[in-house]
């Protein structure tokens, strides 16, 4: 049998922000709208270079972050895969329309490169202070998917995952990275198109007369007609019935709201992504995400070298919260350490899941410096 020659992937030395842009293009993103802000700007600059060179790519610099959200949602409604990227202050401005995207179930990806806050804060320093805002930033009860990445290759990988989940679940997906991950340079290899799973939204299978744009459907995710396809739907941020028209009838409102949650809550096995490292026999676990997970990885290796049974759970999906994986650790381990660059935004989730079973310790830094492996090691030993 002829031996198939192994293809060699293209390898580049890139920043996290470049990897995000690469991932977006690989995932089929053809629309970007944004407003410059450190430390996310490189994503926008790369999209400005790349998109006009693609067949139908559109790049827009809008007048502010609110406009960027609006333009991206508009593009999504026409069938595009759309993205916007920002940092702290801009992420605050996007919140109202993130809720709009949840409400009308418009797939899109919002990248927030976290810097020190509140307010203008520390524009060039890393932080993890926007974690709970990503979950609860927009008003009203709503489900949302929040992902994170801790290395440059993961930035590419998780951006593709973000687009896929946005399309599959018809929801905005937020990708949270931090200044360190965004600006660190590492080698990444660019996957071939046929190596990647790239998902697209479900299209209507019935003619316009029969189509209900917000009907109950398999998985709770209705098919989505693009503007201009002949379906002439109504899209509104008001709570709507199955036809998309405003309603305040309690039964219809309840049906809509529960479907909105159910379409994500029933698919935890698909949505919750974690990395388990050295956890099989661990007596001590570290739960971390973003650049801190990287430090934690080193710390775990060092602790193991000294004979301590320590493992690491890296959260790649931050919300919905990875309850099953964390619960397992709460039963297995005597101590859990949650190091993060905020005053305890994920540790409160861990404590909630733990429900008093084991000891949860926190390690917090809010001075614009990353948490080092030795700090984590010291906290463990």
């Amino acid at each position: 049998m002829a031996h198939r020659r192994r293809r060699k992937r293209k390898e580049i030395f890139a920043q996290g922000n470049e990897a995000v842009a690469q991932g977006a293009l690989l995932a089929g993103c053809t629309f970007y709208a944004g407003y410059p802000i450190t430390p996310s700007t490189e994503i926008m600059e790369i999209m400005a270079q790349r998109l006009p060179r693609t067949e139908d790519g559109v790049f827009l610099q809008m007048e502010d972050e609110i406009a960027s959200m609006g333009a991206a949602i508009g593009a999504s409604l026409t069938g595009r895969k759309a993205m916007t990227a920002t940092s702290g202050p801009g992420f605050s401005l996007k919140q109202e329309l993130i809720g709009y995207a949840c409400m009308v179930e418009a797939p899109m990806v919002i990248v927030n490169v976290m810097r020190g806050g509140p307010s203008t804060g520390l524009p060039t320093s890393p932080a993890q202070g926007d974690v709970q805002m990503a979950r609860w930033g927009t008003h009203g009860d709503h489900p949302i998917i929040v992902l994170s990445a801790s290395t440059v290759p993961e930035c590419l990988e998780m951006t593709v995952v973000a687009f896929n989940m946005a399309e599959k679940y018809r929801t905005p997906v937020i990708l949270l990275i931090d200044e360190v991950t965004a600006h660190t340079r590492e080698k990444i290899s660019i996957p071939f198109e046929d190596e990647l799973e790239v998902l697209s939204r479900m299209q209507p299978a019935v003619p316009p007369e029969w189509f209900k744009p917000y009907a109950e459907a398999a998985r709770g995710v209705p098919a989505m007609a693009a503007i201009g396809q002949g379906y002439r739907c109504h899209v509104t941020g008001l709570t709507h019935d199955q036809m998309g028209y405003p309603t305040s009838r309690p039964d219809e409102v309840n049906e809509f709201m529960t479907r909105l949650f159910r379409k994500i809550d029933n698919y935890y096995h698909d949505v919750l992504i974690v990395d388990e490292y050295q956890l099989e026999d661990a007596e001590y676990a570290v739960v971390a995400y973003g650049c801190v997970a990287r430090s934690a990885h080193h710390a775990v290796d060092q602790a193991r070298a000294r004979g301590h049974k320590v493992g690491l759970l890296t959260l790649k999906t931050l919300f919905p919260f990875a309850r099953p994986a964390v619960e397992k650790l709460c039963m297995q381990c005597e101590h859990i350490l949650v190091p993060e660059m905020n005053m305890g935004q994920i540790s409160r989730e861990v404590k909630r899941v733990n429900n008093g079973r084991t000891r949860i310790r926190t390690l917090n830094r809010v001075d614009g410096q990353i948490i080092t492996p030795s700090e984590i090691l010291k906290a463990i030993l």
């Binding site: 629309f31 060179r53 609110i66 960027s68 333009a71 709009y100 509104t236 941020g237």
Partner: protein
């Protein structure tokens, strides 16, 4: 069937639960009628018409018409419209906004849409007040006029939509009123077909909120006021302080979406 009935059958949604939200005498319904007549006169394909509306009484009109309709967020209609037009330049994108929508919370988007000359038609339904929220002052409320939030008369100078849009560089700028339905139809058609960014302001009475607070005895008074206090711009003489109507700017720059397609083609030709 009369012509009006035919239009109703063809362009209003049958599956939408009427009655509509507009008060008796509201000018917004007249603008909606004009929009439907204009789309019909221009023979635009319903599938290619997109109505992008803001939040307010004006924004509610999107739900009633059988086009692609997007009821967005307060002030943000133009941002959605920009995304839609850039993503699919074949579509006829028409934005419907109130004066609060277009001039206050969305004022920044209005001037930037004009500056970037995106191929969208912006209809500003100016009733000089916040209708939906119960009659508060808007950036179009005339100085001295009463509202729930200017109970002693507004101290602030209002925006002039036409002058603002002209200064910001809109390709086509026009004004008419709900009283002048024929003129409104004509200008509406021009605004829709004009390339680049078009702004059409329609002065549109709100008897419920504005009229009652400002000593209009009834709806008819409000329409009479529009008749008496407006003048076609071509007929306006020096010193005439009536509000001019008609076309105020008529430039011929290509829309951003056209220029973008050209850019893309030239970049691809390079490669």
């Amino acid at each position: 069937m009369s012509d009006v009935t035919k239009l109703i059958h063809e362009y209003l949604r049958h599956n939408k639960k009427f009655p509509h939200v507009f008060c008796a005498g509201c000018g917004h319904g007249i603008v909606l009628g004009s929009l439907v007549r204009s789309v019909h006169a221009l023979q635009l394909q319903k599938d290619n018409v997109v109505i992008v509306a803001g939040i307010g009484c004006s924004g509610r009109m999107a739900a009633y018409v059988d086009f692609n309709t997007v009821h967005t967020a307060h002030g943000r209609a133009l941002t959605f419209a920009t995304g839609i037009k850039m993503a699919n330049p074949e579509l006829n994108v028409i934005c419907v906004m109130g004066d609060g929508d277009a001039l206050s919370i969305g004022g920044n988007h209005l001037i930037h849409a004009a500056r970037r000359n995106i191929g969208v038609t912006a209809l500003v339904l100016n009733n000089q007040i916040y209708g939906m929220t119960g009659g508060q002052c808007s950036p179009a409320t005339p100085q001295g006029d009463m509202s729930m939030t200017s109970p002693f008369g507004s101290l602030e100078q209002p925006f002039d939509t036409v002058e603002l849009a002209k200064a910001a560089g809109a390709n086509f700028v026009a004004r008419s009123t709900s009283f002048h339905a024929n003129q409104l139809d004509k200008l509406m058609q021009q605004a829709i077909v004009h390339p680049g960014f078009s702004v059409l302001e329609a002065l549109s009475p709100c008897p419920t909120q504005y009229g009652r607070k400002n000593k209009f005895r009834n709806v008819v008074d409000m329409y009479n006021w529009l008749k008496k206090n407006t003048v076609k711009v071509e007929k306006q003489k020096e010193g005439d302080t009536r509000i001019p109507t008609g076309v105020f700017q008529n430039l011929d720059r290509p829309g951003l979406e056209e220029r973008y397609v050209e850019l893309r083609q030239s970049l691809q030709a390079e490669e």
